[in-house]
């Protein structure tokens, strides 16, 4: 009957029918909701849609489509005439028919290539049951229906759900079967173990899918005689049907071969269908998209093919429903007008060029600009689709799933009219479906549980779309159980992806984001049903691809809200153009929060170095900073010299120059010339004479920071210059650049230059950024801070309220509070009488650029410690606290004589005082005059200190030196072996945990070498405990001591070296 082979007509019919079907689904659900209170208009609408599909299919000779639509139409007619109440089973059969039609229409080749027997059977079962005309509510649990019809819906869903696997199996030469077992009658009662059958089948073929027919199972009232457990196996094998039947212990009538071609072997379409006849063509009506080409038409409109309604995609044969789009005729007209304008403008241009008349050039340029913008806008509108197109699909998803799970759920859809680019809408469908399913499946609790929790029995799932700041925000909010972050943490911990310290340092919203971790899928412990977070990583990845940014908020017992921010369109995006190291980059405005310009003179106040990371204080929050040139791996940095107006290479390592302004602060003015061993950062400028116009204070040295957001997390990106904001056209990157996670694409600018588009999410991942607030939250949290540093006790002191310092407590012998009157000045040096001797006193500001001691004070604190054979004291104004914490020491930024480095302690940058260094700098001759420190070649004993932390290494060397030994230091076992090879070492002090070669292995190596078999080895570790000590002793260490227990260490060394 297919007398029309016209591909275009067929395509038009398919597209139109799909639109009908899209509408039908939500209408049917509304009809179901209404129940006996029939909305006649709605039923008529669905009826007309089915009628149109039937008519068009008949016209085009599409038999399967026609017969299915026909049966559905019959059923709807009964509903319309109040002969049948639209109960859930009735609606389910109609929905099934709509699904079947959809699948038929999406077939790339002939549209009859799918078996629709099951849908037809379902419709007929509802149409002509014994008591079909009595409007009764059908029980949701049908009593033992005959195998064939009960199974057909399952067969259909099995086939539809595994089309890919079926295809693959066919390609491998397999035949596809559906095996229909009743496990109780076919196997159990015959004494056959079902597992054996499953294993046997798997041995000679492939089990594509297994489906137990749950609907055929009754309840606890069902007597054992009526028990049936039907199972459908979708199975592929090289065997033919006869062989399989005997092998599978199954009667032939329940071994269904699934044919490749339309004509189904087992079940053909019922004969009661009208013969194909030319009927009315498809008529567009009530299409859901906002743009619609023609008004609704009655199904019985004149027989003439409707005009091709769509702006066709490049492949009109493509099967998918999304290769074309409906466009309002008005929009098309507008496009046509604009195209005409463009032609006119081109003609004007040609005239100008021909006449070489520059005067008109401006006018035509403006005109071109205008026409292009309008054209762009008009074309964008053709791509815009309402989010409702996706939202409406969820009515069905939620209905089916909640029925299956026995939950009651109210789905509320808001903002369906919000429009977005077609590409984004398409990319959104699957991830949103996943999120909705997750909310229904795992978020909203069963009615019983909700009742216990004092919540309404019916859960609410709310999908909202709205515009905000040039973006579309989509929220999926449920009032379910919420995400239990405690359990989530346990799960992540057990997966080993993150350690406890990392998890403890996370804020609530960061913890919630853990559900996007790959592999968090089979989290039965989290949800007890089935993996919450199945494929959440994939959802995240897919949405991120179209520029979606996630946020999750969840309260246990209250519900979860997932917010997705999406750009309106992907093709053209507003961006800010910046330059760094002379190259231009574009940053999408969507990612930007604000721009901050820090004037040169303020840099030291606002930008700080924590550990090895730069941070800025911004309205009380600490914002991590990233230098874009560092991300890009540009080692050369440049700056404009304000005096010479020349671009020069920048050698500055630290952006936050801590030095003070040259004028005004007398106390510090002289400091900058001190410190002959100043670090690289200092030495650059120290010898230079300061001028007001120098680089540090020039306006051109201001720092530009783009504050960008990754979800709720913000960070600052340091760039050289900010140029313009532009609308850029996004070009995808070539395949060779795809793996660069810091770029999102490229764009071509007006001058023809290419600018790469930065991906702020990728950059934060590459730089391992995390929120700084966690790192400086306070004392409590700090103790669980980085594990790779060692905890130690620190004496926190101050000379001025604004400047905090810390002294390692284990170097201190005593702390004395003294009155200012006790201080005596002899020979220009401070001393005090102390335990019948004279105690030399020092201050930290004697060697380091720190706030001086408060000279007006009546009392001071003296920190007494041994230096060689004598005791000395360092005075401070205030003792704040003694704390035991693990700190990450920055040993470059503030390092200077008397200061060994800095760390963040109690939320403040704190300088670590080098007691030994102060005395050694002020009184270098004491080093020579102490008998211990007068090394006569060959007599002074030598100790090798092996320790990977620079800070501890320095500390240990200092106190060992002070005790009169010469030290060599090594950062790990490998270096230590190198030193041992070259130098004569009398004793080894070694840490245990070290990179490359740890202390235990080092000990084993030393003991294994005849030269050092009797060398005393003392292990110093922060890991206490018998087990650790045993391991150390087993490896061959002589003593196992706790790190920085100064006295004991020196005593032990003395003992081994017989002193």
């Amino acid at each position: 009957m297919a007398f029309i082979e016209d591909d275009e007509t067929l395509q038009a019919f398919k597209e139109e029918s799909r639109e009908h079907l899209d509408g039908i689904e939500s209408d049917l659900l509304a009809i179901e909701e209404g129940g006996a209170n029939l909305d006649h208009e709605l039923v008529n609408k669905v009826f007309r849609a089915m009628h149109s599909i039937k008519g068009g299919a008949g016209f085009l000779g599409l038999e399967a489509v026609k017969s299915l639509a026909h049966a559905a139409e019959d059923l709807l007619n009964k509903v319309r005439n109040a002969e049948l109440v639209p109960t859930p089973p009735v609606i389910s059969s109609l929905l099934g028919a709509a699904d079947g039609l959809n699948r038929l229409l999406n077939q790339p080749k002939g549209v009859d290539a799918i078996d629709i027997a099951s849908q037809l059977a379902a419709l007929h079962a509802v149409l002509s049951p014994p008591a079909a005309s009595t409007p009764i509510a059908v029980s949701p649990l049908p009593t033992v229906p005959p195998p064939a019809s009960a199974g057909s819906a399952i067969v259909d869903s099995l086939l539809a759900g595994h089309a890919g696997a079926i295809n693959d199996a066919r390609l491998a030469g397999h035949t596809i079967f559906v095996l229909e077992y009743d496990l109780i009658h076919d196997l159990e009662q015959k004494g056959i173990n079902p597992l054996t059958v499953l294993h046997d089948l798997q041995g000679i073929g492939q089990m594509i899918a297994v489906q137990v027919d749950d609907q055929a199972v009754g309840d606890l009232e069902t007597e054992a005689e009526a028990w049936r457990l039907p199972v459908h196996l979708l199975y592929s094998t090289l065997m033919d049907k006869d062989m399989l039947t005997s092998f599978a212990n199954l009667p032939a009538e329940r071994t269904h071969e699934i044919p490749v071609q339309p004509a189904p072997a087992e079940s053909t379409a019922p004969e009661d269908l009208a013969p194909p006849s030319p009927a009315s063509p498809p008529a567009p009506q009530a299409a859901p998209p906002a743009v619609q080409s023609s008004p609704p038409a009655e199904a019985t409109s004149p027989a003439q093919p409707s005009p091709k309604p769509a702006v066709s995609g490049d492949d009109s044969k493509a099967a998918g429903a999304d290769s074309s789009i409906r466009v309002n005729v008005k929009v098309l007209d507008n496009l046509m007008t604009l195209a005409g304008e463009l032609v006119l403008t081109r003609n004007q241009f040609l005239q100008i060029v021909h006449a070489r008349d520059p005067q008109d050039f401006d006018t035509v340029s403006q005109r071109l600009d205008l026409v292009t913008s309008e054209l762009q806008e008009a074309i964008m509108t053709t791509r815009m689709q309402p989010v409702g197109n996706v939202f409406n699909k969820f009515k069905r998803v939620v209905r089916d799933l909640s029925q299956k799970l026995g939950k009651e759920i109210d789905l509320i859809l808001e903002g369906g009219e919000v429009e977005m680019d077609k590409t984004i809408i398409e990319a959104l469908t699957d991830p949103l479906t996943h999120l909705v399913r997750n909310s229904v499946d795992h978020g909203i609790e069963l009615p019983g549980k909700r009742k216990e929790a004092g919540k309404p029995l019916t859960g609410t799932l709310r999908l909202t779309a709205f515009h905000e700041g040039g973006q579309v925000i989509i929220e999926i909010a449920d009032d379910g159980a919420g995400i239990d972050t405690v359990r989530l943490k346990e799960k992540v911990l057990s997966m080993g992806t993150l350690d406890k310290a990392q998890l403890d340092a996370m804020q609530e919203h960061e913890l919630l984001r853990l559900i996007f971790l790959p592999g968090l899928s089979t989290a039965k412990e989290v949800t007890e049903v089935s993996g919450r977070g199945v494929g959440m990583d994939v959802v995240h990845a897919n949405l991120s691809k179209v520029g979606g940014v996630f946020d999750i908020a969840s309260k246990v017992g209250r519900g979860t809200t997932i917010t997705i921010k999406l750009p309106l369109t992907l093709a053209i995006i507003p961006s800010l153009i910046v330059t760094t190291s002379g190259e231009r980059y574009a940053i999408p405005q969507v990612n930007m929060v604000e721009l901050v310009r820090v004037p040169a003179a303020k840099v030291k106040d606002r930008i700080e170095n924590i550990g090895s990371a730069l941070v800025m204080r911004l309205r009380g929050e600490l914002l991590p900073l990233i230098r874009l040139d560092e991300v890009l791996g540009r080692s050369e940095r440049y700056y404009l010299d304000p005096r010479e107006q020349q671009v020069k290479t920048c050698r500055r390592q630290q952006i936050e120059d801590r030095r003070r302004l040259p004028a005004g602060e007398g106390a510090t003015a002289g400091l900058e010339t001190q410190g002959p061993d100043g670090s690289g950062a200092r030495s650059e400028a120290v010898t230079e004479k300061r001028e007001q116009m120098e680089r540090r204070f020039s306006p051109q040295s201001a720092i530009n920071i783009l504050v960008v957001s990754v979800g709720k997390f913000h960070y600052g990106l340091l760039v050289d210059k900010l140029l313009d904001s532009e609308e850029i056209v996004v070009k995808p990157l070539g395949s060779h650049l795809r793996k660069c996670q810091i770029y999102a694409g490229a764009t071509i600018q007006g001058d023809g230059r290419v600018a790469l588009i930065l991906d702020v999410v990728g950059i934060s991942k590459l730089m391992n950024l995390s929120s700084v607030s966690d790192r400086v939250r306070g004392k409590g949290q700090q103790e669980s801070a980085p594990l790779n540093t060692d905890a130690q006790s620190l004496l926190i002191v101050r000379n001025s309220p604004s400047e905090q310092m810390a002294i390692p407590l284990n170097l201190v012998s005593r702390i004395e509070k003294i009155s200012a009157r006790q201080i005596e000045i002899t020979g220009g040096r401070r001393n005090m009488q102390y335990r019948a001797t004279s105690l030399p006193l020092f201050t930290i500001d004697q060697t380091a650029a720190v706030a001086p001691l408060n000279r007006e004070a009546t009392h001071y604190y003296v920190v007494v410690f041994p230096f060689g054979e004598r005791e000395v004291g360092v005075m401070v104004s205030e003792i704040i606290d003694i704390i035991r914490i693990a700190v990450e020491v920055d040993d470059t930024t503030h390092k200077q004589p008397g200061i060994m480095g800095s760390a963040i302690i109690l939320q403040q940058i704190t300088m670590l005082v080098d007691l030994f260094g102060i005395v050694a700098t002020v009184m270098p001759e004491w080093l020579k005059h102490t008998s211990l420190a007068t090394p006569e070649a060959g007599t002074r004993m030598t100790i090798l200190v092996v320790e990977d932390s620079k800070f501890f290494n320095q500390q240990i060397c200092d106190f060992v030196n002070a005790a009169g030994y010469t030290t060599f230091s090594a950062m790990d076992g490998v270096q230590a072996l190198g030193v041992l090879d070259k130098e004569k070492i009398d004793l080894v002090l070694t840490d245990i945990e070290m990179p490359n070669m740890d202390g235990l292995e080092l000990t084993t190596r030393i003991r294994g070498d005849g030269r050092w078999a009797f060398l005393p080895i003392i292990a110093l570790s922060s890991v206490a405990g018998e087990a650790a000590e045993k391991r150390g002793l087993k490896a061959g260490v002589n003593e196992y001591l706790i790190k920085l227990d100064r006295e004991k260490t020196i005593q032990t060394i003395n003992r081994y070296l017989n002193r």
């Binding site: 159990e188 137990v212 309840d219 606890l220 457990l229």
Partner: protein, 96 residues
């Protein structure tokens, strides 16, 4: 999942080997309005299709009566393998 149990909340029922007896026990518990039934399969090394039927039927009754749920606890390898083979692990809530 913690092992909390209250009179009207979660209750644990041993499973089999007499299915008729188990059915009766389950029936009474459902009728008593328990919201969560934990079926303890500790003594079940192998489960028959009838056993699976009983679990599914109990779930149906439970959902119809209280909207509650059924959990299987102490599932041994044998039953677990068959439930997995029939793709029923997700249908029937498993609690390890």
């Amino acid at each position: 999942m913690s092992q909390r149990a209250g009179p009207t909340e979660a209750i644990t029922v041993p499973f089999g080997p007499d299915l008729e007896k188990t059915r009766e026990e389950l029936r009474q518990l459902v009728a008593a309005g328990h919201a969560e039934l934990r079926v303890d399969l500790a003594d079940t090394t192998e489960i028959t299709p009838s056993g699976i039927y009983l679990l599914l039927a109990a779930r149906h009754s439970l959902q119809a009566k209280t909207g509650g749920r059924l959990l299987l606890v102490n599932l041994a390898d044998g039953p677990r393998e068959l439930l997995a083979g029939l793709h029923l692990e997700e249908e029937l809530g498993l609690s390890v």
